[in-house]
Structure formats: structure tokens, C-alpha cells
């Protein structure tokens, strides 16, 4: 794990409000699925002192990608960056997902949370898994499924708020229909609580506001049966039974 400055290779709006940023970064080459990086917003101008965390979306040799949604001041600023501009990166950070071979897998992503499961899907595929993506979106405008996600998916099921298919009830039925060995989830506390009540082995990657990203400041606490844990160091990947949401 290292702090370093990198040139942006591309930063494309793949869908209104969603950007795919690529940069060269050797230190991230060996990052594992579920790990994340933090990016400094305005550096030592420090109008915005907190670094922003993003899951690694894709690693292609030394080219690393993140997929992010513009939600506030920081991501808005990132969205204006152009190829050749530099960003300051810290990573890889956090633990990674426990992975399984030759298993029946569901990746259950809500909104941009799906981006946090892409790298994992890619790796699981290489381990011989059969992968169904259940992608939950508000509506078509936030559907971020791209060729990369398609490349490792055996099946992709899109559920949406607009037509009611994204209800917990419906998602539960879909999952039970598939009867997977393992579920990985990101992006919805509602779905997480549902998984906690289901019988399947399930993992989740969590988001919490962060200070250091390195395990030192204890600001990224989430509740667990054994007290507070740190999303940045003990996570961001947890067994769903391990967290209290």
C-alpha cells in the first residue's frame, strides 16, 4: 500500500452521471477483489481534506479502472478531470472477498454498488464459477451494466423500482429460484438485511465515511456483534452475519 500520483488515461461519462476513470498504477496490479483505493480531491489546497474511497472496478495489467457516480462536490470535481491530469492515489486498501471455486454465485448489486462487485465477478469466473448478476436500479437511467460485467456473467437479471421488480419480495424469489452456493452484495442496506434472514452464505462490501483509510483513526466504524469494526481495515468485505445494520 502506497501513496502515489498517477496520470489519468481516460475519464469517460459512460452514462449520464456515471464515469469510468482509467489510470496506470503498478502498485495496484496485485490488488484483490473487493479492495479499494482513496483519491485526494484538492490535495493540499484542502478545501476538501478527506480522500474519497472507490472500489477497484477492473485491473488490466497495470491499467486500473474505477467506476463512479457523481453524487457530491468531490465526485463532481473528479468528473471534470481530463486525460493527462494527475490524481493522488492511496491503495490497495482493506481486505478482499473470500472466494470459492466452481460454485454457483449470485452478485447482487444495487445502483453503483454493482461496480464494487465487478472485479470479483471477473476473478470468480476464472475460478470456474457460474455467475448470475442480479442488478437492482432505480430505472434504466442508472443501469450501468457494460461489456465487462457481461463478460463474466452467465446470466444478468435486471430489477427496477419503476416496475416494482426490485422489491425485496421479488428479489428473494429470484434468489431462491437460483439457489446459489454464495451471494455477494453491495449497495443496499435493505437487501443486506434480507440476506441476513436468508439461509445462503453471503458476503457484503460496506461503505462508511472515512478519515485515514488505513485503520488508524477509527472513524469508519460499523456495528458488529463483537463491537465496532473498521470498514477500511477489518472490511470493507464482511460476512453478512458479522455486521449489525
Amino acid at each position: 500500500m502506497k501513496v502515489s500520483t498517477h496520470s489519468i488515461l481516460y475519464n469517460n461519462e459512460i452514462k449520464k452521471g456515471y464515469f469510468l476513470m482509467g489510470f496506470e498504477c503498478n502498485t495496484l496490479k496485485k490488488a484483490e477483489p473487493g479492495q479499494f483505493i482513496t483519491i485526494s480531491v484538492d490535495g493540499i489546497e484542502a478545501n476538501m481534506p478527506l480522500r474519497r474511497p472507490f472500489t477497484i472496478y477492473k485491473i488490466n495489467n497495470s491499467t486500473v479502472e474505477i467506476l463512479y457516480k457523481v453524487v457530491g462536490k468531490g465526485t463532481k470535481l473528479f468528473s471534470t478531470l481530463k486525460p493527462g491530469d494527475t490524481i493522488n492515489i492511496l491503495g490497495p486498501l482493506g481486505n478482499s472477498f473470500r472466494m470459492f471455486e466452481n460454485s454457483k454465485i449470485i452478485l447482487l448489486g444495487r445502483g453503483v454498488g454493482l461496480a464494487s462487485l465487478a472485479c470479483l465477478g471477473d476473478s470468480l469466473k476464472k475460478l470456474g464459477c457460474d455467475i448470475t448478476v442480479i442488478a437492482s436500479f432505480k430505472d434504466e437511467s442508472s443501469n450501468i451494466i457494460d461489456d465487462y460485467i457481461k463478460s463474466f456473467s452467465n446470466d444478468i437479471i435486471v430489477v427496477e423500482d419503476e416496475d416494482g421488480t426490485s422489491s425485496c419480495d421479488n428479489v428473494r424469489k429470484i434468489i431462491e429460484g437460483i439457489n446459489p452456493d454464495v451471494i455477494y452484495s453491495c449497495g443496499s442496506k435493505r437487501l443486506l438485511r434480507m440476506l441476513q434472514k436468508m439461509k445462503y452464505k453471503s458476503y457484503v462490501t460496506l461503505e462508511e465515511r472515512m478519515g485515514c483509510g488505513l485503520g488508524a483513526c477509527l472513524t469508519c466504524a460499523i456495528k458488529t456483534p463483537s463491537g465496532y469494526k473498521r470498514v477500511c481495515k477489518d472490511g470493507p468485505c464482511f460476512d453478512v452475519m458479522e455486521v449489525i445494520i
Binding site: 500500500m1 502506497k2 501513496v3 485526494s40 490535495g43 493540499i44 484542502a46 478545501n47 476538501m48 481534506p49 478527506l50 480522500r51 493522488n88 492511496l90 462508511e208 465515511r209 472515512m210 478519515g211 485515514c212 483509510g213 488505513l214 485503520g215 488508524a216 483513526c217 477509527l218 472513524t219 469508519c220 466504524a221 460499523i222 456495528k223 463491537g227 465496532y228
Partner: protein, 301 residues
């Protein structure tokens, strides 16, 4: 070129260290070369383990952050048994921050720390809410500051640095009580009580509702406190508030601080303290300055 400074009997190889709670100990070995730092300060340790405040514990505001961690830690015994040994081979002064919610606990936790090796000094954090008097910090009362410091001094064989709360009408008065109780140095100061809310959710941004403001936004406030205390009392001061660049550090030294702590900006750049030390050296080179001690307190009015 001499960068070393003295905080009472404590000799630092340079005047730059981290602020408590914003930086790791042994587990930061990958991030920074400890042997380049003047000292490292531990996260505050209490007598009993504390689980801390409900999340969210941090929020960003303009040029600063609010935090309400609530001194989560595993207690003084665990610190001595499990954390301290891992620092053994790390070549840097370790200052252990001591905090508590009852006066009596300060003495007990200091006794536990006294039983261990590898500690260079204590930093007594009096900004914790005093449970016995209903939640205002010890550091907001002259008498309580005195009582806490006295109880630590009674058992401490190492230098005792007292970290003051800035949330007071007259910090000079409180500083005098800390010094009367035997403080060897002062850290000026902790965070300023603040609050942020979210228009969308119509809720506070922190689980604890209020939190401590830190970062570049507070620098002018803490500068004033350092200046006011330095003018009134002859005691070594470690400045802590909003330091972002070598210039910020130098400004504090110029108004009389003997050393500085970097807090929030470690979040922005975990290796920033090394840059700050390099920047101080560069400044000394440009100004043809041999000894940083000649610069300390050189402000002209």
C-alpha cells in the same frame, strides 16, 4: 543545520509529530519512515476499554472535518501488553496520550503506563467530557484541569504534556492552572466543538450530533491561543491545529511553539509530515538559518 528541539527534558530530532488519533503506530511502518519524525503520539488511551460513539463518526466541512470517535480504545492494560511491544524496534520517541472520564482514572492509567518501557512522555488529554460533572470537558475548568494534571504528575516519572481544550473563554487562565499542577509542556490545542447537518436527510451528519472541528479552517484560532499563552507563560508549547504545509508549521514556530503536531492533513496525505520536515529544511537553507531554535519565537510585533 540543527532541527532538534527540546520539550522540557524531552529531546526531539525535529519539531514535527502527529496529533493524537490521526495516525497509526507500528502499522504505519509501510506509510512513513518513523525515523524521520520528531515523535509519534498514540491515540488517546483510557483506563477501561471504550467502544466509542455511534457512526457516522466523521464529516467533511469547508476546509476541515468534524469527528466524534469517542476515544474508542482497548484500555491502558491492553496498550501496554499488546501495542507497546510492537513499537520496540521503531526508532522514534513515543508519546502516549492519556484520557479519561473520571479524575481518579488518570492516576490509575498513568500507573499502568509507568510499569512499561518504551514511552518517552505522556500527553494528558483533558478534552474528554467529565462524567462526574455532567459532561463538560475537564479542560473547560481551571480546577479540574489542575486536579487531572496533579494526579498524573503525582505518579509520572516521564515528562507530562497537557493538551488543552480550546473551547473556553480564557485559555491562559486554564494554562496557568495546568502549569501550577506541574505540566512540563502544553499542547495547544484540541478540536473546536462544531456541528454539521444534512439537508436531504434533515439529520445531523454525525451520530453523536456534535463533534470536534479540525483541519486548516481552525489554524487562525489555534494560532491566537498559542500566541496568547506564550505571551503570558514561559513554558514549552506544542502547537496542534490546522497544519497543512511547512509554512503553517513555521508560522507556529515563529510565534513561539517549540514543536508542532499534524492531525487532519495526515488523512489527506498520509506521508505529509515528511514533506513538512523537508519544507522546514528548505526554508532554513534559503534563510541561511543554522538552528531552528533561533527561529522559534522570532515574531516581531
Amino acid at each position: 543545520m540543527n532541527l532538534s528541539v527540546n520539550i522540557g527534558s524531552l529531546k526531539l530530532r525535529n519539531p514535527v509529530m502527529n496529533a493524537s488519533g490521526t495516525f497509526g503506530l507500528y502499522d504505519y511502518k509501510d506509510v512513513i519512515d518513523f525515523s524521520k519524525l520528531g515523535a509519534v503520539v498514540s491515540k488517546s488511551v483510557t483506563l477501561d476499554p471504550r467502544q466509542g460513539n455511534p457512526p457516522p463518526r466523521i464529516a467533511e466541512v469547508q476546509s476541515g472535518i468534524l469527528n466524534a470517535v469517542g476515544i474508542q480504545n482497548d484500555g491502558a492494560l491492553d496498550f501496554v501488553k499488546n501495542k507497546l511491544p510492537k513499537m520496540k524496534d521503531i526508532d522514534v520517541n513515543l508519546i502516549v496520550s492519556v484520557s479519561n472520564l473520571k479524575v481518579a482514572d488518570y492516576k490509575k492509567s498513568t500507573e499502568i503506563l509507568e510499569s512499561a518501557n518504551g514511552i518517552a512522555a505522556y500527553e494528558v488529554n483533558v478534552s474528554c467530557p467529565n462524567l462526574e460533572t455532567g459532561g463538560t470537558a475537564f479542560g473547560m475548568s481551571c480546577q479540574e484541569t489542575y486536579n487531572v494534571v496533579k494526579s498524573v504528575k503525582d505518579v509520572a516519572t516521564r515528562p507530562v504534556i497537557v493538551k488543552l481544550s480550546p473551547n473556553v473563554t480564557d485559555i491562559v487562565e486554564i494554562a496557568k492552572y495546568a502549569v501550577d499542577a506541574g505540566a512540563d509542556a502544553l499542547t495547544v490545542a484540541n478540536t473546536y466543538i462544531g456541528m454539521a447537518v444534512d439537508l436531504k436527510t434533515r439529520r445531523p451528519k454525525l451520530g453523536n450530533i456534535t463533534g470536534g472541528l479540525s483541519g486548516p479552517a481552525i489554524k487562525p484560532l489555534t494560532m491566537r491561543l498559542v500566541y496568547a499563552i506564550k505571551k503570558a507563560i514561559d513554558i514549552p508549547i506544542i502547537a496542534s491545529g490546522g497544519i497543512m504545509t511547512a509554512e503553517d508549521a513555521l508560522e507556529y514556530l515563529m510565534i513561539g511553539a517549540s514543536a508542532v503536531q499534524v492531525g487532519t492533513m495526515n488523512f489527506t496525505r498520509p506521508d505529509i509530515m515528511v514533506d513538512i520536515i523537508e519544507g522546514i529544511k528548505e526554508f532554513m537553507l534559503n534563510e541561511k538559518m543554522q538552528d531552528i531554535n533561533d527561529f522559534i519565537g522570532s515574531l516581531s510585533i
